[in-house]
Symmetry: D3
Subunit: 140 residues, 6 copies
Amino acid sequence: MSILPALADDQLSPEAAAVFADIRAVRKTDFVNNFWRVLAHDPVALRRTWQSIREVMAPGALDPLTKELIYVAVSMANNCEYCIRSHAAAARAKGMTDAQFMDLVAVVGMAAETNRLATALQVPVDAAFRPAADPPFNQL
Amino acid sequence: MSILPALADDQLSPEAAAVFADIRAVRKTDFVNNFWRVLAHDPVALRRTWQSIREVMAPGALDPLTKELIYVAVSMANNCEYCIRSHAAAARAKGMTDAQFMDLVAVVGMAAETNRLATALQVPVDAAFRPAADPPFNQL
Amino acid sequence: MSILPALADDQLSPEAAAVFADIRAVRKTDFVNNFWRVLAHDPVALRRTWQSIREVMAPGALDPLTKELIYVAVSMANNCEYCIRSHAAAARAKGMTDAQFMDLVAVVGMAAETNRLATALQVPVDAAFRPAADPPFNQL
Amino acid sequence: MSILPALADDQLSPEAAAVFADIRAVRKTDFVNNFWRVLAHDPVALRRTWQSIREVMAPGALDPLTKELIYVAVSMANNCEYCIRSHAAAARAKGMTDAQFMDLVAVVGMAAETNRLATALQVPVDAAFRPAADPPFNQL
Amino acid sequence: MSILPALADDQLSPEAAAVFADIRAVRKTDFVNNFWRVLAHDPVALRRTWQSIREVMAPGALDPLTKELIYVAVSMANNCEYCIRSHAAAARAKGMTDAQFMDLVAVVGMAAETNRLATALQVPVDAAFRPAADPPFNQL
Amino acid sequence: MSILPALADDQLSPEAAAVFADIRAVRKTDFVNNFWRVLAHDPVALRRTWQSIREVMAPGALDPLTKELIYVAVSMANNCEYCIRSHAAAARAKGMTDAQFMDLVAVVGMAAETNRLATALQVPVDAAFRPAADPPFNQL
C-alpha cells in the first residue's frame, strides 16, 4: 500500500541491512516496523534518519518520555496517522498512562483552538513576549 | 493591527470586565495580554476560552510544565507566532530552561520530518501499532 | 481502531453518562456518535467540548446552517475526514443541498489556491486592508 | 517585500493590463490590490486566477456573503494573513457585521479543536456518516 | 466512499460529458479517474479545474516532469493521499525513476524539518534575502 | 526577534564554531545566515542539520536546481517565510529565472486547490493508482 513496497530482510542493500542490524541491537527486538522497511529504498536516508532520531530522542535536558509526548503531540498537529500510532506505542512503552494520553490530547486540542483564534484575529504580539533587544548584526 | 482592535479596560462590556478581573486574580498581575483584549469583542467566547484553558492547563496526569511544553510544540507545528511567543514565555515562567527549549525544538523538527516521510511514502500502519480488536458497536 | 477504544454505554463513568444523557436529550435521538464515545475516556474534556460546541453552534449573529457550512469548510482545510463527514451530515440535516455543498467545495478549493499564491509570493498587505490606527496600549 | 516586486500600471504587459482593466470595470474602482500586482509577473496565471475567482464567487446555490465568510474561514485555517485581511474587508463590503465576524471566528476555533481531537484520537467514522453504497465502478 | 458518489458516464450532464470527452482525447485513454467523476457534480468546477490544470502543467519555463515532481511534493506537504498517489503515477508516466522519487521524498522531509525549525525559533529573515527596495506604491 | 538571540561569531561554542567554519568553507563566503546563528544554541542540532542538508541537497538522481525548486515549493506549502526567501535566493544562485519561479508558484497554487478538492470530496483512490499487490509481511 505504500508508494514503494516495504522491503523484506532479504531485499535489503548491504547498507540498509547494516542499519536494520543496528535498529535491532538498540531496540533489543527482531521487529522492524514498516517505516524503516519503506525508507530502506534510500539507504542513505535510512541511515541518516535513524541516526538523527537516536540523537534527538536520547536523554538530554528533557527526559525520554517528555520528548516522546511532544513527538506524539506534533504528529497529531501534523495529521500523520502512522506517526500518531507508532509514537503513541513508543510513549506507552516508556510509561505513558491512558490518563496522561488524554491530558496530552486535551492540550493538543486546546492549542489548536487558540492557535487559530490568534491567527483569525491577527492578534499582535505583546511587547512583554518579545526579547528586549535585537542582536546587533545581520540586520535582524 | 488585529482585525478588530484590542480593547482597553474602559471599553469592556460588564461580562468581559468580569473575565478580566478573574484573569488578573488568578495570574496575580494587572497585565492582560492582547489575546484576551481582542477576544473580548465576543464576551461569551472570552469566558469560554479562559475557563477552558484554565481547566486544560491545571495540574492533572501531566504536570503544568509538561503541558506547557506540549502547548508550545503544537503552536510551532501550527505556525502561530503569537502562540509560540506567549506560551514560550509561560513555559519559562514555569521553569523551562534554554536547553529544554532547544531540546523541544529539535523534537518538533524531527517529528515534522518523519511525519512527512511517512505521509510521502504512504507507509501502512503495522499491526503491532493497532489495537487488538475493534469495539463491537457503531460499526467501527 | 481509535487509539483508545470507543466506550459502550455501560462502560461510561457517571460523569460521562450524564453528558451522554444530555446529548440524547438535546438531539432527540438515542444515537451517540464515535467522537463522544472515544472522548468519554476524559469525562471533563467530554463535558467541556459538548458544552462549547452547543454554545458556539447556537443561533447567533450567524444562523445555524451558515455556521455548519463554515465548520465543514474548516474541517476540509484542516484535512479531518471524521469531521468532514460528520459535519457534512449535520449540514444536510439543517438543509444543505448538494448544489450548496458543491459551491462550498469550490470556495474551499479556490481559497486554498489563492492562500498559497499569496504566501508563495509573500504579497504585502495593502494599506487599504489594515485598520486606520493601532490601539494606544500594550505596544501593539 | 514580495519575492518579485508588485508591478505599477506602466510596468504591465498588454495581457496583464487587459486583466487590470477588467478588474477595475467589474469592481468599479481604480484601486488594484497588491495580490494582482505581484501575480501580474505571470499574465496567464493572472487572467486564470481572476476569471476563476469571479466564477467561484458569483451568486449561486450559496449567496455571495456566505461564500465570502467561507473564504475568510478557510484563509484563517490556512494561516494566510494577506487573505484573512483582504477577504475580511470584502466580507464587510458585502455586509458582514462585527458580531458575525466574531461568530465566524468562534466556529473556526471550535472546528480547529474538534478537528484535532478527532485526529489525535483517530476516531473511526460512524457508519451513519458514510454513504449507503459505493458506486459500482473504478473499484471505489 | 466520497461525500457525493462518483458519477458513471451515463450519469453526466451534457456539460460534464463534454469535459470527459476532452479528458479522453487529450490523454488518449478511455480511463477517467475518480477525481473528475466526483467533481462532475459541479460541471462548471469540472471544466474550470480541467482547463486550469492543462494550462498550468503545459510545458513552459519548467518542463512537465519538473512540474509534476513539484506537484507531488506539494501534495505530500499538504497531506493528500489521493493527490500523492495519482500525481506519483503521472510523474512515473513522465519518466520519474524510483531513485528520483526517493530523492524527492528526502527533500520534502528535510524541508519539513527546517521549515519547522525556522518557525519554532522565529528566525528573522536576513537582509540578504530581502529585495533591496520596496516598490513606491500601494504602501508596500 | 528570534526566541533565542542569533549568536555572533564570538559567542559560539567550539563545536558550533567548527560547523560555521565548515559552512564558510563549503559555501566559499564569510556570510552565515541567521538560521544557523539561532540554531547554534544547540551545537548538536546545528551539526546534524548542516550535515543532513548537505547530504540531501547534493547532486543525486535529481539535480541540485530541481531539488532546490522542490525545497522552495514545500516551504510555500508549509508557510515558512524564512525558508521561502532563503531557498528562493538559493534557487536563483543555482540559475532559477523569474519565469521558472512563476511557473513553480502556479504549480504550488494549483496543487493546493486540487489537494483540497480531493480532500473536501473524500475522493477514493482509483485502483489504477495503487500497487498491484501488498508485501507479504508485517500485515501491510
